[in-house]
C-alpha cells in the first residue's frame, strides 16, 4: 500500500487536519460576516490535494481551482498568507488583489485558478511545456472540478498535452456537482476518465476518501510524466461537506447527503483508522497533531483578521512589469 514513511504519513495527516480545521473555522467566520467575497470550502476533499501534493517537488506546478484553500495549504503555501489573502489583506499571498478563489504562490509552485473554470488545464500545458523546454525536470498538475470538464478549454488542453506528450497530470475532483447541477446530469455518460481515453491518455478513477488510493494514483501519473511518457488523468471521487459556496442552502441535494459523507466518506477519519489499525501511527500522536492544528488555526485567523488591507495608494501597482 502506502510507499510513504511514518514521518511522511504524519505530515500528510497534519496537512489534511489543517485543511479541514481551516475550513471548519472559515465556515463559522463567514457566517459571522467577516469574510469578503465568495468563499468555496474544500472540506471533505482533503485527501485529493494532499495525496497529489505529496508527490510534487519544488520544480512542479500545481494549478488550483476556485475551491482553493485546501490545495493551497496542501501545496505548502504559508497558511497565514493564505488566510490573509482570503481576507483580502495587504500581506495576503496576492496582496489582497485576488481573494479566496485566487490563491497563487509562485515561489511554492502554486498557481491560482483563473476565471473561466478549467483554464488550469491549458495553463498547465504551458507550465509543462516550459519545464520540458528548459529541462527543469518539473511537471504540472492541474486540478479541475467535474463541472469544469465541460469547458471547451479542458478538451483542448487534454488534446494538446497528449499530442505534445507533455508532463501534465489532470486531476478531476468529482464532487458530484458543479454549483447546483449534478455531474450525472452534466457529463455525458457520467464518467470523466473515459474522456482521457478519447484523448489517448490513461484515465483512472479513485476514491477520494482514501488518501492512499489518491497518493498511489498520483504517484503513478507523476512518475509517468517525469519519465517523458506524457499526460494522464485521474478522477478523484469526493463529496464536499459544505455548499458550493458559503451561503448555499443546498436544497439541490438531499438533506443527509453531506452528513452521510461525513459519516462514511471522511478521508481524515479513514486515514486515522487505517494508520492506527495497521500500527503505522498511533492515535496519541494524531491527537497531538489535532491539538497543534487547532492552536495554529486560532493564531492564523486572529492574525488574518487583525491584518491591514493593502495600502490605498497601491491601487495602481502591479499592472505591468515594464513601465507603460
Amino acid at each position: 500500500m502506502a510507499t510513504q514513511s511514518r514521518t511522511e504519513l504524519l505530515a500528510a495527516y497534519r496537512t489534511m487536519a489543517t485543511m479541514r480545521a481551516f475550513e471548519e473555522r472559515m465556515h463559522i467566520e463567514f457566517a459571522g460576516g467577516g469574510v469578503p467575497g465568495f468563499v468555496h470550502l474544500y472540506a471533505g476533499q482533503e485527501a485529493s490535494a494532499a495525496g497529489v501534493c505529496a508527490n510534487l517537488t519544488d520544480h512542479d506546478v500545481l494549478l488550483n481551482t476556485h475551491r482553493a484553500h485546501g490545495p493551497a495549504i496542501a501545496r505548502g503555501a504559508d497558511i497565514f498568507a493564505v488566510a490573509k489573502e482570503i481576507y483580502c489583506r495587504g500581506e495576503g499571498l496576492c496582496r489582497g488583489r485576488g481573494g479566496s478563489a485566487h490563491l497563487h504562490d509562485t515561489k511554492n509552485g502554486l498557481w491560482a485558478a483563473n476565471s473561466g473554470v478549467g483554464s488550469g488545464v491549458a495553463l498547465g500545458c504551458g507550465a509543462a511545456l516550459a519545464a520540458r523546454t528548459r529541462g527543469t525536470g518539473g511537471i504540472a498538475v492541474a486540478l479541475v472540478g467535474d463541472g469544469a470538464v465541460n469547458q471547451g478549454v479542458v478538451s483542448e488542453g487534454l488534446n494538446l498535452a497528449s499530442i505534445w506528450k507533455l508532463p501534465l497530470v489532470v486531476v478531476v475532483e468529482n464532487n458530484g456537482y458543479g454549483e447546483a447541477t449534478a455531474a450525472g446530469y452534466a457529463i455525458a455518460g457520467g464518467g470523466i476518465a473515459r474522456r482521457a481515453e478519447a484523448f489517448d491518455m490513461p484515465g483512472v478513477q479513485v476514491d477520494g476518501s482514501d488518501y492512499f488510493a489518491v497518493f498511489e494514483a498520483a504517484a503513478a501519473a507523476a512518475e509517468r510524466a517525469r519519465r517523458g511518457k506524457g499526460p494522464s488523468l485521474i478522477e478523484v471521487e469526493v463529496t464536499r461537506f459544505f455548499g458550493h459556496f458559503e451561503g448555499d442552502a443546498q436544497t439541490y441535494r438531499s438533506r443527509d447527503e453531506a452528513e452521510r459523507a461525513r459519516r462514511e466518506r471522511d478521508c481524515l477519519a479513514n486515514f486515522r483508522r487505517t494508520v492506527v489499525a495497521e500500527g503505522i501511527l498511533d492515535a496519541g500522536e494524531l491527537d497531538l497533531v489535532d491539538t497543534d492544528v487547532a492552536d495554529l488555526i486560532d493564531r492564523v485567523y486572529a492574525e488574518a483578521e487583525a491584518a491591514p488591507y493593502p495600502p490605498d495608494d497601491e491601487l495602481m501597482e502591479f499592472i505591468y512589469a515594464d513601465s507603460l
Binding site: C88, G99, G116, G147, G178, A180, T251, L315
Partner: protein, 335 residues
C-alpha cells in the same frame, strides 16, 4: 403595483413573456438548479436566485439547466433563435463572455447581416456586471462597451427595478440579439413596479432630474451615485440634467445632445473602463456633434485603467463615488 426588487422585476419579466409566448425558453447554468441531484429540482434560479420558480411553472422543456459550457449553450441558443425560438440565456457573470465571445460577437451579432437578412436572432443574454462584492478582476467587470463595439448587438443597462422589467420585456420581444446587463449590487433595490407586463422602448434615455447648469450622463448603478451627487449639488445651487441612457445600443444620442445644447457642460459617470469605454464613446459623440454648445471640457468619471482588485478598500477606490462626481461637476461649472 407593489414594491419589488430588481431581482423580482427581472423574474416577472421572464415569467410574463414565457406565459405570453410559448417560444420563449430559458437556458443557463443553474437557471433552475438541481438538475440530476438528490434534492429539489428548482433549487437555485441562478446563483443569485433570479430565475427561481420558473422550472416549476414551465417545466424542463422550457427551462434548461446547462453544463458549464457557455460557448456550447450560447451557440445552441443562437441556433434555436435562428429556428424560431426566443431563448433567454443566462451568462452568469459578464466576465465569462471570455469563453463564448465568438458566439456572441461573431455569430449572434453578425448572423443576420452576413447572410443578407435571411434570418433574425431573437436572443436575450442576461448577464451580471459590476464591482462591489470583493470577487476580484474576473467577476466584477462591466463589459457593455465591449459589447457595444459590435454592430448587430443591442445592449441594455437597466439601473432600477422598473426599468429592468420594462427593458427585459422589450429585449425578449425584440428580434435581435440583446445583451441585458444586470448590476449585481442592484438586485435588492426596490421600487414600485407594475404587476402587469410593459415594454420600455430601446434607445430612449430617461431624464431623472432636470437642471440646466450641467448635463450628467450616468449608466447602471452609477445613476444612483450621480443622483446622490446631484442632490448635493442642488443645495449648492448647481442644477443637474441627469440622464440615464438605459441602453447603450441603441444609444439615445438626441437626448444627450439636446441636454448639452442647453447646459453646455457634460460629465459622464460610468463604471466601465476609461479606455474605449462608454464614457469615451459618449464624450466623442458630443465632441463631434455638440461641440458648438460646449462651454467646458467633457469630464469622464470612470474607474482607472486597472484590473479590479478584491480588497474592499481598493475596490471602493476603483469604483467612481459621489465625491468624484461632485469634483467633476464643480470643475466644469467653474470652468
Amino acid at each position: 403595483m407593489a414594491m419589488k426588487t430588481y431581482r423580482q422585476a427581472i423574474n416577472e419579466a421572464i415569467v410574463g413573456e414565457m406565459r405570453r409566448d410559448a417560444d420563449v425558453i430559458l437556458m443557463g447554468e443553474d437557471v433552475a438548479g438541481g438538475a440530476g441531484g438528490s434534492g429539489e429540482d428548482d433549487a437555485w434560479g441562478g446563483p443569485l436566485g433570479v430565475t427561481k420558480g420558473l422550472l416549476s411553472e414551465f417545466g424542463p422543456g422550457r427551462v434548461l439547466d446547462t453544463p458549464i459550457s457557455e460557448a456550447g449553450f450560447i451557440g445552441a441558443a443562437i441556433g434555436a433563435a435562428a429556428s424560431g425560438l426566443r431563448p433567454v440565456v443566462d451568462l452568469m457573470f459578464n466576465d465569462f463572455v471570455g469563453v463564448c465571445f465568438d458566439q456572441v460577437v461573431n455569430q449572434a451579432a453578425k448572423y443576420r447581416y452576413m447572410f443578407g437578412g435571411q434570418d433574425q436572432i431573437p436572443l436575450t443574454i442576461r448577464t451580471m456586471i459590476g464591482a462591489g462584492l470583493s470577487i476580484s478582476s474576473q467577476h466584477s467587470q462591466s463589459l457593455y462597451p465591449v459589447f457595444s463595439y459590435f454592430a448587430g448587438l443591442k445592449v441594455l443597462v437597466p439601473s432600477s427595478p422598473y426599468d429592468a422589467k420594462g427593458l427585459l420585456t422589450s429585449a425578449i420581444r425584440d428580434n435581435d440579439p440583446v445583451i441585458f446587463c444586470e448590476h449585481k449590487l442592484l438586485y435588492d433595490m426596490t421600487e414600485d413596479v407594475p404587476d402587469e407586463g410593459y415594454a420600455i422602448p430601446l434607445g430612449e434615455a430617461s431624464l431623472l432630474r432636470e437642471g440646466g447648469d450641467v448635463t450628467v450622463v450616468a449608466l447602471s448603478r452609477m445613476v444612483h451615485v450621480a443622483s446622490d451627487a446631484a442632490a448635493i449639488l442642488a443645495r449648492e445651487g448647481i442644477e443637474t440634467d441627469l440622464l440615464d441612457p438605459r441602453t447603450t445600443t441603441p444609444l439615445d444620442t438626441e437626448s444627450i445632445l439636446e441636454s448639452v445644447e442647453a447646459t453646455g457642460r457634460l460629465v459622464i459617470v460610468d463604471e466601465s473602463g476609461p479606455r474605449c469605454g462608454m464614457a469615451s464613446d459618449i464624450a466623442a459623440l458630443v465632441a463631434e456633434e455638440g461641440f458648438g454648445d460646449l462651454r467646458a471640457p467633457i469630464v469622464k468619471v470612470t474607474p482607472p485603467h486597472v484590473p479590479i482588485p478584491a480588497a474592499p478598500n481598493l475596490e471602493a477606490l476603483y469604483v467612481p463615488d459621489v465625491n468624484r462626481v461632485l469634483d467633476a461637476v464643480r470643475r466644469v461649472v467653474a470652468y
